[in-house]
């Protein structure tokens, strides 16, 4: 097995880039929507054969075992080439959870199935009334013999209609003194009568989000991950590693690239006012990348990131939105037009980018919530 971490950064980057450019299907580059598994299955098989499905997992579980520095390079190259994340909830969320908190039996059973995509996972966190505020969770799981019986509703469950399993936070002790307590982490099959999935149509007409209803759905007690009533802590541990990725420059950088080629094609750079706005946006992205590097360096040195990493997400999502506003401005009379706009030999779906940028300031803890957190945890401002 290759020890990727022993490579120089440059070598490793070359290796990853070479593989992606050679093997990643052209038609899947910069996909404007989240694919169903069938659409990317072919690519997944290639990754699986190569052993590159789970870059962050330890090699003993079938991962690449990359350290933080190499991991960042891996993701940077994926983003650079417009590689779709695929159906990566299993690899990104469930796997690390099981690796960290699961029993040996759970590891043996679930991890290989994640890598092969025999199981396709979705994440059941948000509920109506518990979005940015997970403590309000109301979906219950009650013990009944060897099973949990689950009742309640999840919402904003990405691609639930194309998943075989769900990993979810459920309330297992309704009488816990603090709301954050009494929450547990369970795995459940979607393929049972008590689970109903309804897709949510977004304002752009996409259907990647779902509501999931649980009406006496069942899952074996052995599908509890970690200790009973300790789910909150585990979920937070999982989220903290995500916070730098959600603040990565890639979305904004890609959008800026699209804006630039579109604007060139439309001759928008002939207008000095547009040039100034573009320069502002481009500098916002470049300077954000400088701050991102500072946090990435911390990770690479093996340090833990503090709450201040949230500022990356605030900045980059708002920047992303401004860039897509500029695309609409550059589109002029076509600014309300659905679908790709052709300019020269470039085709840019201006509205799709605009819509994609909208929820970024809402999900992953809205930017308002992030500001609340920063003001308390970083600036120490009083209640």
């Amino acid at each position: 097995m290759t020890d990727w971490n022993a490579m120089s950064d440059a070598e490793f980057r070359k290796e990853v880039r070479g593989f992606l450019e050679a093997e990643y299907p052209e038609e899947l580059r910069h996909l404007p929507h989240r694919p169903k598994f069938a659409e990317i299955e072919h690519w997944h098989r290639k990754l699986h054969t190569k052993g590159w499905v789970a870059p962050a997992w330890p090699a003993e579980y079938g991962g690449m075992g990359l350290n933080a520095a190499k991991l960042l390079i891996f993701y940077e190259e994926q983003q650079r080439w417009g590689v779709n994340r695929g159906r990566d909830m299993g690899v990104q969320m469930v796997g690390p959870l099981i690796i960290k908190f699961g029993t040996q039996k759970q590891k043996n059973y679930w991890l290989p199935r994640i890598l092969s995509c025999e199981d396709i996972w979705c994440q059941g966190y948000s509920e109506p009334g518990a979005g940015s505020d997970l403590a309000n969770l109301r979906t219950r799981a009650e013990i009944d013999g060897d099973d949990f019986v689950i009742n309640g509703q999840k919402i904003w469950t990405t691609m639930a209609h194309d998943a075989t399993h769900i990993f979810m936070l459920v309330r297992t002790d309704p009488d816990a003194p603090k709301k954050q307590q009494g929450i547990s982490f369970v795995l459940a099959s979607m393929d049972q009568p008590g689970v109903e999935v309804r897709t949510i149509t977004t304002l752009s007409g996409e259907t990647e989000f779902c509501e999931v209803f649980f009406d006496n759905a069942r899952t074996p007690r052995e599908n509890l991950v970690g200790e009973l009533n300790k789910g909150w802590t585990m979920a937070k541990a999982l989220l903290s590693f995500e916070r730098i990725f959600i603040g990565s420059p890639s979305l904004a950088q890609n959008a800026l690239g699209q804006l630039e080629s579109f604007a060139r094609g439309r001759g928008a750079f002939d207008d000095p006012v547009f040039r100034d706005r573009f320069a502002q946006a481009a500098l916002d992205v470049e300077d954000h990348a400088a701050l991102y590097s500072r946090f990435a360096d911390q990770l690479k040195r093996g340090e833990t990131l503090g709450a201040d990493v949230s500022m990356l997400k605030i900045w980059v999502t708002e920047c992303f939105q401004r860039i897509t506003e500029l695309m609409i401005e550059a589109a002029g009379p076509d600014g309300g037009t659905v679908g790709p706009l052709q300019v020269g030999n470039v085709s840019v779906d201006v509205l799709a980018s605009f819509y994609k940028a909208r929820p970024t300031t809402i999900y992953g803890g809205s930017n308002e919530i992030q500001r609340n957190i920063l003001s308390k945890a970083v600036l120490g401002l009083p209640d």
């Binding site: 979005g131 989000f209 439309r266 009379p333 309300g336 037009t337 509205l351 909208r358 308002e368």
Partner: protein, 370 residues
């Protein structure tokens, strides 16, 4: 300061228009039409015609109500409030704006006012970077060749009113939608409507007017439509704000209505102020356009209105989504419909950056002329 009599007339007009749209189903009707794939409702067009809506700004001697653009703005605001998909502003501003100025005797004028005919105006052409300044669509020997773009209401119209170039200068011609050699491509818009791209190859058309008068009337009509589109955006923004205000008063987070958080409160205040400034500015513009005969000043006023209305609508609808949180991103809540309609209305006839430039240049020219 408008006369109190006029003010009262406009108040009554606003009330009856609001009642009419509310009875027809408000924004719910617009959603149903979109879901059904229909762009607008011909029956509603007839009803609006019967109610006198299209003729508000047409002089009485030409069969209208003679209430001026200020009244057109009242109608447009109400259209905006319920995001009605009927091409009301295009009809009042462009269709009737051209006919009443160039051929007031033409039977289409009366039919349009009455909602008995549909007529889409084709005047813009596509250039490499957006709208082209040069018209290449030609009219000769009773036939059209070339293309037109961004035609509002092209889907389902009976006739096109086309501004084309002829040997003697610009002409206004009428072509049937079903005419030979006319290909209409619909480009779907964010709000479920479409804009038409027309391609003519020897399409028969009847000349209605020609010469410099056509160019003059077109500029005036476009100014009217621009200012009315601004009014439509004002109504839209106002309503989007009201919906959002209601939402933040009721939706709870951390066991409190989100409207009790100071940050949300201040943002709501800013949206409110933006709406009020836009409303005051656009209404003032329409009033002043009614009293102004200088075409370039009218155009500058119209640009001022559209610049403000687009800025306001952008801020209000984008922030409205954010204040709604995740549900704002779904199609289940109406607020998304307002965002989508604002996108389309902002792009149509020029956005705020475009109109600020036009406005400033016109201001400089007037200054230089003095």
């Amino acid at each position: 300061m408008q006369s109190s009599e006029q003010e009262e007339d406009l108040r009554l007009l606003r009330e009856s228009a609001r009642t009419l749209f509310d009875r027809a189903g408000g924004s719910g009707r617009s959603r149903k039409l979109r879901d059904a794939g229909g762009e607008f409702d011909p029956d509603m067009v007839r009803e609006l015609g019967e109610a006198g809506v299209f003729g508000v700004a047409v002089p009485e001697e030409q069969g209208g109500l003679g209430m001026g653009l200020a009244a057109g703005g009242v109608i447009a605001e109400e259209v905006g409030r319920v995001i009605a998909p009927e091409p009301v502003v295009a009809t009042i501003g462009l269709g009737l704006g051209l006919l009443r100025r160039l051929c007031p005797e033409h039977p289409k004028l009366e039919q349009l006012i009455g909602g008995e005919a549909s007529l889409a105006v084709a005047w813009q052409e596509r250039g490499p970077g957006g709208a082209s300044a040069d018209a290449t669509c030609r009219y000769a020997d009773g036939k059209l060749t070339g293309g037109k773009a961004w035609v509002v209401g092209a889907g389902g119209t009976q006739d096109f009113l086309v501004v084309a170039e002829a040997d003697g200068g610009p002409v206004l011609v009428l072509a049937e939608a079903s005419a030979d050699g006319l290909v209409t491509t619909r480009r779907a818009q964010a709000d479920g409507s479409s804009l038409g791209e027309l391609s003519f190859s020897g399409t028969p058309a009847a000349e209605l007017a020609c010469g410099a008068a056509v160019q003059g009337a077109l500029s005036e009509a476009v100014a009217d439509a621009t200012a009315l589109a601004a009014a439509e955006l004002v109504g839209l923004s106002q309503r989007a704000f009201e919906i959002t205000l209601d939402y933040i008063k009721t939706r709870e987070q951390f066991n409190k209505p989100i409207g009790s958080f100071q940050v949300i409160q201040h943002r709501a205040v800013d949206l409110n102020v933006m709406c009020e400034v836009a409303q005051a500015a656009v209404r003032e513009v329409l009033m002043r356009m009614d009293g102004e005969t200088d075409a370039s000043i009218r155009a500058r006023l119209a640009s001022r209105a559209k610049a403000r209305a687009v800025t306001a609508a952008r801020k209000v609808t984008r922030d409205a989504i954010q204040l709604h949180g995740a549900v704002g991103y779904t199609d289940e809540f109406d607020i998304g419909l307002y965002l989508n309609r604002a996108l389309v209305l902002s792009a149509w006839l020029g956005d705020d950056a475009y109109h600020r430039r036009i406005w400033f240049d016109a201001r400089e020219e007037e200054g230089a002329a003095q």
